[in-house]
């Protein structure tokens, strides 16, 4: 592990992120748009456990934003590989572990920035916070973003050309999102849906955040922590293997 090198990768990603204005704008506007249209639209007639639908999906929208940005950020690697940008990094003495770790760290940072923007917007739709809840949200988001970025990097290492990029949305992001309970409560689901959501690690991210933000939690806290830590570890172990084997 070369801390200077990891820091260089991280600084590079953050600087380019901050200079790509469209990326920041869409990162901030998308979730707010969802809350104001979908959340408020359904919220005018739908109440879940006495809680306004807009507030109910708040945690789900944080996860949705993170899903899209982390997985896409990771799989963007396939573009970096196509041009010579990544080769220049791979030819330095920096180990592939370090490069991978720098990228995961960047993915986590982006997710935290975006979460901060959405949390700030939460004030306007009546979400209340404590220092403890914000602290725990940060930990859960960091853990989840590390796992999701690693999945993205795995996809980016395995893909040989960017042509299949659209498929990621269809076959990875959408299933993970729609089967996570981001938009519906986990109680009283049909058996197949209950099984699929329980098998989806993203479900536990949503559940944890919803518990911290509006006090509705389906799974036990210990169960959630165990699953999220395992998810992050496994996703990163697989990611590192894929990244090490990636042809440059």
């Amino acid at each position: 592990m070369n801390l200077n090198g990891i820091s260089a990768i991280w600084q590079r990603e953050i600087l380019t992120f901050l200079r790509e204005k469209p990326r920041i704008i869409s990162a901030a506007i998308n979730p707010i748009f969802w809350l104001l249209t979908f959340g408020a639209g359904l919220g005018s007639t739908v109440n879940i456990a006495g809680i306004n639908y807009q507030q109910f999906i708040f945690a789900g929208i944080i996860v949705q934003t993170m899903l899209f940005s982390s997985i896409f950020y990771g799989s963007y690697l396939v573009w970096d590989r196509r041009i010579d940008l990544l080769k220049a990094v791979l030819v330095t003495p920096l180990s592939r572990h370090s490069i991978f770790f720098g990228k995961v760290l960047s993915g986590v940072t982006f997710a935290l920035i975006q979460t901060a923007i959405i949390l700030a917007f939460g004030f306007f739709i009546g979400i209340s916070y404590t220092f403890a809840s914000i602290g725990l949200v940060i930990i859960i988001v960091a853990l989840a973003a590390a796992a999701l970025t690693a999945i993205g990097l795995t996809i980016g290492s395995l893909m040989t050309s960017p042509e299949g990029f659209q498929l990621i949305t269809t076959f990875v992001i959408f299933p993970l999102f729609f089967l996570s309970g981001a938009l519906f409560p986990l109680e009283n689901l049909p058996a197949y849906l209950a099984a699929l959501t329980a098998a989806n690690p993203v479900t536990y991210i949503v559940d944890a955040l919803r518990g911290l933000l509006i006090g509705i939690q389906y799974f036990g806290s210990f169960e959630i922590i165990f699953i999220l830590v395992a998810f992050a570890l496994i996703a990163n172990l697989i990611g590192i293997q894929a990244f090490k084997r990636m042809r440059s």
Partner: protein
Amino acid sequence: MPIVETFNLTKKFGKITAVDSLNIGIDEGEVFGLLGPNGAGKTTIIKMLATLLEPTSGNAKVNGFDVMKKPQKVRESIGIVFQEPSSDELLTGYENMKLYAMMYGLPKDEIKRGIVEALELVELTERRDDLVRTYSGGMRRRLEIGRSLIHKPKVLFLDEPTLGLDPAGREKMWDYIGRLVRELRMTVLLTTHYMEEADNLADKVGIIDQGRIVIIDTPKALKRTVGGDLVTIKTANPNTGALEKLAYVKNITQNDDQITITVENVSQNLQELLKVVGKIESVEVRNTTLNDVFLHFTGRRIHEEGGNTWFDKIVQESISKS
């Protein structure tokens, strides 16, 4: 002992042999030019030497380190400039250099000093705080050359350093690389498909075709092997039989309705030669270039193969439009 050395270095992609039993040695301080058409295997060779690609068989040593067993040491010993841009457009020149140098694990003060020197060397000090997006193609290439020198590599790999530059930019870049080599006494492995580039920059040229080295020598010696100047004649029906009998005709290559004859003492012999050829549409006489050397050894012209990349085509189109 050579600082870069390959031993039957071979790379196969499926059934295609991209590099076939390569044996070259590059001495310290030497500029070695690998000259060949696109697809000849030049970039594959560089990638193997830079530890980005594992050889199928054979081996190579850079700065005394085995590329397979000591990749880390090899990477510390080399600097490399890729064919296509590899700097970040959204970072300034300075940031690009600094972040890159950090990946080499250099101490802070060494990075600072190194960048100042490198910027000076590639004449980008004035533009150091501008985003790379605002740089011209030549400036960007220079930045990448400068960036590859900060960690003081023993060997510099330049993969098609003037690809995509306009002719003026190309000549400027030659000046640059030439100066760099003289001032830093750097060992350089350069790949190119431009004859003039190899001629201008390289102490020694290896002609490569379809993954095989055809011949290695100094540009001067190579041109001498062709053995004279060249007369290219456009004619429908050349009398090659009679031409071959002339003592001063060294070589004849025929290409559709065009025939290229290597002639000693052109000024004295041209008149007689033209009489012998037969009916002539046009004649061109010129001094030997490496292009002729390539033709001499491979029987083909370097650009003949349609092996141009999409990138080349775009560049050529944009040049012809402007």
